[in-house]
Point group: C2
Chain length 437, copies 2
Amino acid sequence: MRTLKPVRTAYPGRNRLGASDARESGETGLRGGLAALDRKDLIRIMPAKGANMDVVVVGGGVAGLSVAWRAAQAGHAVTLADPSPGSGATHAAAGMLAPVSEVSYTEEPLLRLGLASLELWPSFAAELARESGVDVDHRAEGTLDVAFGADDLAALDEMAGFMGGLGLRVERLTGRECRRVEPMLAPAVRGGLLAPGDAWVDPRRVTAALLAALARRGATVVAEHVAGLAVEGGAARGVRLGGGRVIAADRVVLAAGAWSGSLDGVPPGVLPPVRPVKGQIMRLHGAPGFLGHCVRGVVHGSSAYLVPRGDGEIVLGATQEEMGFDTRVTAGGLWELLRDARELVPGVTELEVADVCAGLRPGTPDNLPVLGPAAMEGLLLATGHHRGGVLLAPLTAAMLMAELDGGPGPYAREAEVCSPLRFGGGTARAAFAAHHR
Amino acid sequence: MRTLKPVRTAYPGRNRLGASDARESGETGLRGGLAALDRKDLIRIMPAKGANMDVVVVGGGVAGLSVAWRAAQAGHAVTLADPSPGSGATHAAAGMLAPVSEVSYTEEPLLRLGLASLELWPSFAAELARESGVDVDHRAEGTLDVAFGADDLAALDEMAGFMGGLGLRVERLTGRECRRVEPMLAPAVRGGLLAPGDAWVDPRRVTAALLAALARRGATVVAEHVAGLAVEGGAARGVRLGGGRVIAADRVVLAAGAWSGSLDGVPPGVLPPVRPVKGQIMRLHGAPGFLGHCVRGVVHGSSAYLVPRGDGEIVLGATQEEMGFDTRVTAGGLWELLRDARELVPGVTELEVADVCAGLRPGTPDNLPVLGPAAMEGLLLATGHHRGGVLLAPLTAAMLMAELDGGPGPYAREAEVCSPLRFGGGTARAAFAAHHR
């Protein structure tokens, strides 16, 4: 489990490169699949204006690792600091890439971000596999959301209408049709909604692949916690490690997940109001073909899911608990996972338990991630992904690359939606700038 | 997890000490608490007639370790063979010493064995602590068996009457009284039966203590599996280890739990018909005082229990599954444990999971252990304890010590009840003797 312990630090700074205002540049917005692919290619062929910058990434979850990888590809000198990369929320993530089946009525902006990143995933995974030699088990076989009672079915129909209105591709299935496509489903399942475009990956393989790719790109991974930000003239100039060593940098990317809300050396209002949202999962040893889709359902009022891996592993997820920085695996958490999974797919009871673990998602007040320049020059944020860290990793990396190059580029709309300044950071920045005038 | 892999073995024997017929000597039977203490003292002060024999114990669970310890105390040269002592059923045992609360209508003989061993436990634990320096957390605070519905209450009343008829001390409590003595109990509990004499120990501490005591007594523990019995002239003369090495012995004590049913070199009918009965448990990190008694209850038709340790740990047990030699921890097993424990003590849901594991109990056709001389000279059995291995360890050791001294001594009745010959071994022995005439 990752942790950033705030420690007082005084650090002699040096000159800065300006970039934090480029954010206000031209807007292009979201233009769907082809545009997404264009953007993805764009990032890779675009000459990195600020190439050969020293970039420090704080946090080795899927977000930080993805940003570090793209930054290293772009020619920056990248150092990533994390006492144990990939051991936080990413380690406890199921890896669903399911923006459609997980859409909420009030969260269309999040849906748009998810769809944009979902479109980036196939090439992201393929390129990552080429560079790392690690297959991340990317599967795009769809999510099946099932219902039991009449109320659930009505909710399913309503959701189907809502999704149709958004132009999302979904198929409404009867109970019999559900069991035909997913024979292990409970007999009590009376209907379902298939989102054929939804996909998933194995987050632990993604971590391993990104670490291998980083090594191959000559990036440095420092297995230490970051004690604080190194600040000079109101600008981020690097980080100070717990061991006392300072890593100087032109840009600091804070991707510390649930720990991104407090970092020594950063004035109030600059860091985002992220909170830890505890999630417990259980991994089971299944058999390949046990399930063909991700299976979701609302059981006892809580949303449960089963994610099948290529090797037959089945992931049961996930609790959502407001427990602060508590990462204990609890009897109640496992009971809830097992109770709900049993109701969806009774056959899971026969499967062997591989492991159980808990992680802390970085939740935000509006459930949207925090991506881009903070109200402090030299500091970029890539956090607040809540339940979407794995899904949003390719988009996060693409948006941060654009910002390293001086502005949001083609991501102006996403940058605005995800701006760190939306939590009153703007005011804070003004106050901070005045203070340092 | 322990395993004995049968491997063909040919072994040159040597002369024998006769003892296998001493079993038919005088009967004294069970005479209650004081007599039990007498017997226990008897064993320790009795001059070991066959002292300085070479004794090999096969199996390092609580039964084998206890026999080995007492044998070493008695002056025998003891070697215990087990690839991983204490890692089998003992590791997955809750450690309840609860002959009263676990009595069944048809199993009075087992009750008598349990009561006799329960009386031996306090001095067994105290002496073990003195020799090993390890406290086994022996607690005699009683078991509370609770009931929810009207049927459960009726069954509880009937059981109370049955126990009273057997002269067992139990107290019938109302739901309110149950919650007074055990505040964490579910509000739905409507009554209970308190068996104040029941006790428990920490089996993992018992294993550690016995290993320390064995070392102190100069016994040898060989961390290898036993490939087969070394036989000459129809008599057991030692064991052959998986590595090929042979350990010669005057007596072989087979205490291999669920693996005691097959051992290379032993003719049909000599080994007992033990079968593996799978049990899964879960250990939780509680707080001292979370529970004051062992709590039992019949939930959804299966008997569930919670055992509190001195350090606050809570053990949830246990499944009983006829699954062959399957030691997988399964989703269904954990779900059953959590479901039942929640109904008895809802507060367990807040506790952290320490570990989960599965073990294989050595079940027998009549649920009674198999203790004493087998239908093969030089071979003694200490197995078939099913769910009672920890409870019956002191009695098992006492009875085996008597047999090493030439006969059942004061345990004639127990020896008859537990005789390995009761499964048609007598016939087998006759045939075997004829074959070797």
